[in-house]
């Protein structure tokens, strides 16, 4: 049976995630997040765990890192490098589209 309700959500970035919330959203331990922030793979580099807040970008990136580490048994450094490259590819593609060029798929 289908039911419908109206739901008002919160846009991340207006109300950013805490350390615990990010860990829960990524199904990881908070220690995993702390290690990745301290290593510079996540977050904005600010000091003080209690002040850490995470944005939409952080959530997307954290899930990407986690998947790379798990699926490929990748070292965090390698996963971060791949995530950086993926983000760069997406950004360049977006710029291409904005400039009116469509990316070619297929040979």
């Amino acid at each position: 049976m289908t039911h419908t309700e109206i739901v008002v959500g919160v846009v991340l970035d207006e109300a950013a995630l805490t350390l615990e919330e990010l860990a829960r959203a990524c199904a990881v331990d908070t220690r995993w997040v702390v290690e990745h922030v301290e290593a510079g793979f996540l977050g904005d580099g600010s000091l003080g765990v209690s002040h850490w807040r995470f944005s939409s970008n952080d959530l997307t990136r954290a899930r990407c890192l986690r998947q790379l580490e798990r699926a490929f048994a990748a070292e965090p450094e390698l996963a971060a490098l791949v995530a950086d490259l993926q983000a760069e590819v997406r950004s360049l593609r977006q710029q291409l589209r904005a400039a009116g060029f469509s990316e070619s798929r297929g040979s």
């Binding site: 959500g9 846009v11 959203a25 490929f72 589209r97 904005a98």
Partner: protein, 326 residues
């Protein structure tokens, strides 16, 4: 709903070892990852590969799938048997970061994105009489660019694991009307409290995170909060200047095309991109002029072109510094 042959998707034999499955998954992931693949259906194939890996890399799910799969072929019409899942217990490990984009086939067998309460299986963690918060779930939704300008209410359909009358976890489809706030950007998340997986033992439900993507629109391209569009103009509008009604995501407006414009000229309309929350700058709308020549498909049109050729001492190659005739 069709039966999915996960072994075929990963390209491995049914007797493949865990290591062979891992290697096959990595090979396929490299081939179909949407960021690097040249395959036109890369995203869809990557989802299939992720899904196959989720099942075959998990000994419990693989055993359950194998038991079921012995009776089906790939593509064959499939309905889970009524006793599906009985006798199995999952350890409650998560489904990995595949993003929750699972097929109906997967969702019916294992649930969609929920971990501890995955599909028709009872979680071992759920048997102990303690409370546990439900998992957060993730989904990606497509919205129109106009929704980011004006805000909107959109209905989304989700499949979620819920407990039936006998306490068994089953997958049920339900719809949510979600308010899309004005000013959202592509890639942003909307967090819906308590709309994730149900809790265990009366624990609170998890949250649902909706990642926003804009539905492709041939008229507009988006970069952050900046929006880009093309506007075809006639040669005389470009040469002499004109005021042209231009469609924009926020409604039509009169655009002043400066005299002497060339094809490719970019006009910036400050603050006409995606609106921003208080304290932030709205995006800009960029209009790219495309001068379109009328076809010389009548005597009158040809005559006008010939007259221009005679009257206007115009050589664009000379203007560009190129030698004539080269």
């Amino acid at each position: 709903m069709e039966f999915r042959d996960y072994y075929k998707i990963l390209g491995v034999d049914k007797s493949a070892t865990a290591d062979e499955i891992k290697k096959a998954y990595r090979k396929q992931a490299r081939k179909y990852h949407p960021d690097v693949s040249k395959e036109p259906d890369a995203e869809k194939r990557m989802q299939e590969v992720n899904e196959a890996n989720e099942v075959l890399s998990d000994a419990e799910k693989r055993a359950a799938y194998d038991q079921l799969g012995s009776r089906y072929q790939a593509g064959q019409e499939f309905q889970p048997p009524p006793d599906w899942g009985s006798g199995f217990e999952f350890s409650g490990r998560d489904f990995g970061g595949a993003g929750g984009d699972y097929s109906d086939f997967f969702a019916n067998l294992f649930g969609r994105g929920g971990a501890a309460a995955g599909g028709p299986f009872r979680s071992a963690a759920g048997q102990g009489g303690y409370q546990m918060r439900g998992e957060d779930r993730h989904a990606r939704i497509l919205i129109d660019l106009a929704d980011a300008y004006h805000g909107a209410v959109r209905t989304i359909s989700l499949q979620a694991p819920v407990a039936d009358e006998s306490g068994r976890i089953v997958v049920r489809e339900h719809s949510l009307k979600v308010q899309i706030p004005r000013g959202v950007k592509e890639g942003q998340h909307i967090r819906l409290a308590s709309k994730g997986s149900p809790g265990i033992g009366g624990g609170p439900a998890g949250d649902l995170f909706l990642e926003l993507s804009f539905r492709p629109d041939v008229r507009y391209r988006v970069d952050g909060r900046d929006v880009f569009t093309s506007l075809p103009v006639t040669p005389w509008e470009a040469a002499l200047g004109a005021s042209i009604e231009t469609p924009t995501p926020s409604g039509p407006l009169q655009l002043k095309v400066p005299a002497g414009s060339q094809s490719g000229r970019k006009l910036r309309l400050k603050g006409r991109g995606i609106p921003a929350p208080a304290g932030q700058d709205a995006g800009d709308l960029y209009v790219l002029l495309e001068v379109v020549l009328p076809p010389a498909d009548s005597d009158a049109a040809r005559h006008l072109y010939q007259e221009m050729a005679r009257e206007l001492a115009f050589d664009p190659r000379r203007q560009n510094g190129q030698a004539k005739g080269v």
